[in-house]
C-alpha cells in the first residue's frame, strides 16, 4: 500500500529530516512511527500525502509514485488518505455533524450521501448523540473522535495519524487507540506517529523507529525502546 525507496528529505543544507528511508507497508497494516522530536516522523507523514516532496527517492502510495503525480491529481490521492492530528483541526464555527460533513461536501458528495454517511460514522466513533454540538462543547477525547470520524467518513484506504493521543489523558488515549484499531480491522491501513510509549507497548503492532532522519529499527509486533 505504501512504499518508500531511498527517500531523502532536507529542509536546509544543515537539516536533513529523512535520510535514505526504505520500507513497505502492506494493505491493512497498523504501523507506529516512533522516535524523538525532529527525528523525521511527521515529515514522513507529510511525504505520504504529498504535502511535501523528497529530494531523492520515490514514495509509492496505492501503486503510484506520488512524487511524479501532477498537482491536479493530488486532491484525488488525498481522498484516499485520512488525516488525524494532535490538535484535531476542527472548525470551531461548525457543529460535529457539519465538521464531518464538510469533508464530504468539499469533494462534491451529494446531500443524500452526506445525510447517510455522517450519522453512520459518528455512531462508529461513539458520538451518535452529539451531532449538534460544537467542538468547544466537547472533551478533548470527543474532539479527537470527531477528527477521526472526519478522516474516516470517506472510507479512505489509509489513515495517517500524527500524535493523535498527544493531548489526551491515558484513559482517553486508550479509547482513541481502540477506535483506530477497530478502523484498522475494517481493512484501512493505519500509520501513526507517536511518542506514547505506553500505547505502543499496549498495541504490539509494527514499529518503525527513527533517529535524526534515519530508520534505526523496523520491528513487527514491536515495543517502544
Amino acid at each position: 500500500m505504501i512504499k518508500l525507496e531511498n527517500v531523502t528529505k532536507t529542509y536546509t543544507t544543515e537539516v536533513t529530516a529523512l535520510r535514505d528511508a526504505n520500507f513497505d507497508i502492506a494493505k491493512g497494516e497498523f504501523v507506529f512511527l516512533v522516535g524523538p522530536s525532529g527525528s523525521g516522523k511527521s515529515t514522513l507523514l507529510r511525504l505520504m500525502n504529498r504535502q511535501e516532496r523528497p529530494e531523492k527517492g520515490a514514495v509509492w502510495v496505492a501503486g503510484r509514485n506520488i512524487n511524479d503525480m501532477p498537482d491536479s491529481k493530488v486532491p484525488h490521492l488525498r481522498r484516499n488518505i485520512g488525516n488525524i492530528f494532535q490538535d484535531y483541526k476542527l472548525l470551531g464555527n461548525k457543529t460535529v455533524f457539519e465538521n464531518v460533513a464538510f469533508a464530504l461536501e468539499v469533494i462534491g458528495r451529494p446531500r443524500h450521501v452526506i445525510r447517510q454517511q455522517v450519522p453512520a460514522v459518528l455512531d462508529l466513533v461513539g458520538l451518535g448523540g452529539k451531532q449538534e454540538r460544537f467542538p468547544h462543547q466537547l472533551s478533548g477525547g470527543e474532539q479527537q473522535r470527531v477528527s477521526i470520524a472526519r478522516a474516516f467518513v470517506n472510507r479512505p484506504l489509509i489513515l495517517l495519524a500524527d500524535e493523535p493521543t498527544g493531548n489526551l489523558d491515558p484513559a482517553t488515549g486508550e479509547g482513541i487507540m481502540r477506535l483506530l484499531d477497530r478502523i484498522n480491522k475494517t481493512g484501512t491501513t493505519v500509520v501513526m506517529a507517536t511518542h506514547d510509549q505506553r500505547i505502543v507497548n499496549m498495541m504490539r503492532k509494527r514499529v518503525i523507529q527513527f533517529d535524526r532522519g534515519v530508520i534505526v529499527r523496523d520491528q513487527a509486533r514491536g515495543v517502544y525502546e
Binding site: 481522498r79 483541526k89 472548525l91 464538510f102 469533508a103 468539499v106 469533494i107 451529494p110 472526519r150
Partner: protein, 300 residues
Amino acid sequence: MISRLRYTFREMWASLSRNLTLTIAAVITSMVALLMVGGSLLIQRGFDNQLKLWTGGVEMIVYVKHGATEEQIALIQSELLSQATVVESAVHCDEVCAEKYAREVAFPNDPEFIKQLLPQIPSYFQVKPVDKDSSAVLRSLKTQFSQLPNVIEVRTPDDAVDLLGQLKDVIGVRIIVVSVVLLFASALLIWNTIRMAMFARRREIEVMKLVGATNWFIRLPFMLEGLLQGIAGAAGASGVLLLANDNWTSGVKTFPVNSGLRSFVVTDGYPIWVCMGMILLGALVGAIGSATAASRFLDV
C-alpha cells in the same frame, strides 16, 4: 452539481458577511473609481454634443454692409460658393430675416437694444464649411472672406471650439488618469479583502486541501466574492451616474437659451451603455483582484 453550487454560494455569503467592513470599503472604492470612469465618458459625450451644436449649426456668419445692393450680395454669395472644396453652403439672411432673428432669438428680452440696432442691422450669410471640426480652416476662411467687398465682419466660433476642445482634452485626460489609479486601488483592495478572507479561513482551507478538495473548488467562493464586490461597486456607480445625469439634464433645461450650455447634456441611450460598460469593468476588476489573490494565497 447543485450541492457544489449551494456550497459555493453559502461560503461566499459567509465570507462576505464575516469581512463586512472590508467588503464595504472595497465596494465603495470600486464605486468611486467606476463613477469617475462613467462620469468622464458622459462629460466627454457632453462636450461632443456641445461641439456638434457649435460646429453643426451656424459655423460662420459673414455680415454684409447695411444697404448693399442685390448685385453686391449676389457677388459675395458667388465668391463664397466658389470655394466648393471648403464651403458646403452659404445661405443669405436678408435684413428682414436678420431683424426677425434679433427679435425672436438673439435678444428676445431686450427691446431697447433692438431699437438701437434696427436702423443699421446688417444682412448676413450663414456659411457651413466642409470640415466643421477644424478651427484652422475656419480661421483661414475668416481671413479670406473678411477681404471681400461689402463684407463688414466675419464671425466664427473657432476660438470657442478650440477652448471647448482643449477643455475636453484636459478634463478628459485627468479624469481618466485618476479613474485608472482608483480602479487599480479598488482591484488592490479587493485583492486584500480576499487575502484577509482566506487568512481568516486558513484552517478551513487546510482541512479542505487535506480531505481532497481541488484548488478550483477552494478558490471559487473567494473569486465570486471579489466578482460580486466589483459588480456591486459598478451597480452603485451606475445608479449614482444615472441620477446625476438626470439631474443635470433637467437642470440645464432651465438655463437661458443663449447660455451656450443647453447641449452640454447626454439624453440618448448612451448613459445606459456606459452603465453596462461600467458593470463589465467592475466585474473584470473584481475578478482580476480576487483571482490573483485566491491563487497567490491558497497556501495560507
